[in-house]
């Protein structure tokens, strides 16, 4: 094991780059409220893993989507559990990002130079909600369809360009198979990529700037 690590280290030199990260001291006076962000990230990891598993069986097509979810639920080994993990992790992820941001807000840890870090976190929250919105359509059942119908028509209220925005989001006048493909792509490609980059920046800054001293 050690030999393998050294072999890898010679080629990737990670101990030089990340050694300090593992060795670093943690400031005094931290309590368990400093765990909240880590818990949120834990649920993010659960979301990625369960999402990757679901994507093996889910079919993003208007005539097959619903049936593929039924198959995952009824026939796949642990299918129902994996779907449950994805569904519940999403809610818990949102809850813990809110709690984490409350902790940061109360301890006033968002002050410069951590202001950019706060913004990446806030944007992560907004993009996660977009992820929840696009994911809601994917089961392609009654609830999904009509919720998206209501949710997307909200943008019609924007003057002048509202109608065009709705067409852009739906991929047409009405919600159809095109909308399903579009939401699927946004849910599994665009948003995970964006959120992944934001989180990378978020952790990079935590690593560089350290944990803020308590007030």
């Amino acid at each position: 094991m050690n030999a393998l690590l050294q072999w890898l280290d010679k080629r990737l030199s990670f101990s030089q780059r990340h050694g300090n990260f593992l060795e670093r001291k943690i400031p005094d006076g931290l309590n368990y409220s400093y765990c909240l962000g880590g818990i949120a990230f834990t649920f993010f990891i659960f979301l990625v893993i369960s999402g990757l598993l679901l994507s093996l069986y889910y079919i993003p097509h208007e005539r097959a989507a619903y049936q593929s979810i039924v198959t995952i639920n009824e026939e796949m080994i642990l299918g129902r559990i994996v779907r449950g993990i994805h569904k519940w992790s999403a809610s818990l992820f949102i809850i813990f990002t809110i709690l984490h941001s409350l902790r940061v807000f109360i301890t006033r840890s968002y002050l410069p130079p951590r202001d950019l870090n706060w913004m990446t976190g806030a944007l992560t929250m907004i993009f996660s909600m977009a992820s929840g919105f696009t994911g809601y359509l994917l089961p392609w059942d009654q609830k999904a369809f009509w919720a998206t119908e209501v949710g997307t028509s909200i943008f019609k209220t924007i003057p002048f360009i509202g109608e065009d925005i709705v067409i852009l989001i739906r991929g047409g006048q009405d919600i159809s198979g095109t909308t399903l493909t579009r939401f699927y792509a946004i849910h599994v490609l665009y948003l995970p990529l964006i959120i992944g980059l934001l989180l990378w920046g978020h952790f990079h800054m935590v690593k560089r700037l350290g944990i803020a001293k308590r007030l």
């Binding site: 706060w118 913004m119 949710g151």
Partner: protein, 120 residues
Amino acid sequence: MKKEKRFYPDYLSEIIFVVILCLEALLFLILFFPPQLGREIDFTRQYLPRPEWYFNWIFELLKYFPGEFTIFGAIIIPLFFALVVVFIPFLDKRIGLFWTRILAFSLLVVFIILTISGMV
């Protein structure tokens, strides 16, 4: 003197403990509240869906702005919430800690009340 804590192994072991706890909580929730799948789409049978709980506040907000004022509940107020949250550090600089807290906590109270109000 207290022993100095380091990330490895002190905090890493605590982190692993919390991760396992999260997984257990998750499995507990799935066992008692399994994910539901609704009926197959019926384009002719419209029904009023509830959004995910974290969109419920916007859904409730819409009820207060009927007709031509819908844009306030649908776009302007949610956008205001989002902008305040994103620019908290700059607000603190501009209007000070006190007013930032007043603003942020009143938005939080509105969010919580609207989130709960649809559920009960």
